[in-house]
């Protein structure tokens, strides 16, 4: 079963808001924690090993941003 990159979010802006709101008020470390937990929760929703591997590789294959030094 291949990864789905066609639009599949019922209400993209609403989801985007839910995601950003969840990060509001968090430190960088807490945000990283939230993202990691969310990745695992969503991975369990997807379930299929092949799809998950494709998603991971797709994320890794995008051009990397410049390293930020703060």
């Amino acid at each position: 079963m291949p990864m789905n990159t066609e639009p599949n979010l019922a209400d993209p802006d609403a989801f985007y808001e839910v995601l950003l709101d969840a990060h509001r008020g968090l430190s960088e470390a807490q945000s990283a924690q939230l993202n990691a937990r969310l990745v695992l929760l969503l991975a369990n929703q997807v379930g299929d090993a092949q799809v998950l591997a494709q998603c991971v590789h797709a994320a890794a294959a995008l051009p990397r941003g410049a390293e930020e030094v703060r």
């Binding site: 990283a32 924690q33 990691a36 937990r37 990745v39 695992l40 929760l41 369990n44």
Partner: protein, 575 residues
Amino acid sequence: MPDDPKIVAPTRLLGAVGGGHYELPVYPFVEPAELKGELGRHPVVIIGAGLTGLTLACDLSLRGIPAVVLDEDDTVGVRGAASRGICYAQKSLELFARLGIYERMAAKGVQWSVGRTFAGDAEVYSFDLKTLATHDASRQPPFINLQQFYVEWFLVDRIYELGVVDLRWRNRVEGLVPHADHVEVQVETPVGRYALETAFVVDCSGGHSPLPQALGVGVQSARVPDRWCISDVRFAAPPPVERWTWVEAPFNEGRAVWQHLMADGVWRLDYQMAPDADLDRVSSPQVVDERLRRQFGAEVQYELVWVGPYAYRSQCLERFRAGRVLFAGDAAHVMSPFGARGGNSGIQDAENLAWKLALVLQGRAPEALLDSYDAERRPAARHNIRTTERTTRFLSPASAAERLFRDAVLALARAYPFARALVNTGRLSTPMVYEASPLACSAAPCRPVQNVALRLPDGCTGDLVSLLQQVDGSLVAIVAGPVDAVLAARLAAALPERYPVRCFYLGPDGPAAHGLPALGDADSRLAHQLGLDVAAATPALALLRPDLHCAGVLQSPDWPAIERAVRRVLGLGKD
């Protein structure tokens, strides 16, 4: 037979270190025949009398092969009475039952099936191995815990009892010289050097064997900076008999801890240390005392039996056979200890190799059969290494990102069942399925078969192990369903005359079919294990290997198909 090893200890438990210790046996040095001028060609030389070497020697003893074991030491165990490998898996226990030491292990060791994993103070999940389908049909339990030197001790006793294999203590191998039809083994002893000649050598001399390099066999190694302190402790008030593991133990500075019971009421406690820990300091009596009081309470009464540091790595040879030299156990593959795969895979290497070596040495199979040892056990080693490396990565995160995800798993596991499967404190050893085995005689891989109870042809209750003990090293063919009389007669007489195979009938209870001895399988456990259906409209034949793997099931086979299958399992190929 010598007595069991004793704990030499004060009768009153002390509150501090300095309690009991074990006294291990010392075996005699005997001047080798070669030094007295008696030369000859041996069938097999086994280098190293550890778990793997002794298991192989014991199995070969039962097959009538007079192997020679060379060990540079004169006792069991390494590093004194360190407990070392303590969890013996079901498949290993089934083999030990066939070898004749299981009863002693069951009497001395501790059976367990419940495990619990903790993060902080919270239990994250638990399991009971007895409920698993992969373990619930065998006559042996999922695990017995026992100090490694006990298992080695029992194997030595059994080898002496059988009187077939020559155990040579204080014989150190200095080098090997391979020739076309034999190997010359150069040996150093307290009374001089000698060389012996052998058809085959099995290197069971452990993870630091110099022989692979000497023979040009490549190796891949990987090490992580993970360090542990092992303490063997007896308590006045012991914990429950379960395997407990902590990923982040509050009493160990947020690092991992393992807790297991072994024989004689001695608990095995493994504490993960900081990677840069001073190993002498963390193993010192005072630090050990502080740690035990943090874990069990300030008033704990205990006796420290053994303590020492521990590190590990993974390592695998690029091939397990180099001509007349084979590598088994740690000499072939090394892995981290999580999941009890190291010792158990060495034992199962020996089980895989023994029947093949015996048939080759008896002229009943070609030397090419030994290639299947590498074809089956090297993938098993790679699988074990991959599995244990995943555990290592979870227990010893290598970067901030890896630690971040581990934290996420632990947080989620407290709340949600799905995340508990990600908490990795060791995936316990299970028997290997040989996926791409050259010996498979059907489309299916060679699957392990549990040691199920059954009724033997003489009417006695037994199990697959006792059936194997009766067939003198042969393969076992089990036929079910309406087999025709002519074929049955050939299976009963002609087939065993030509090949080392013995045939049995697994039908519904009743008279033996056409001269084939019958097995009783009242609750169909054997049929289920082999994938046979005694009520089927057409006959089937399962070919069981001496290492309790099914080589395949043939549906409605004719005589040529059966012969082809048997020849395949013996390494005789397709001709």
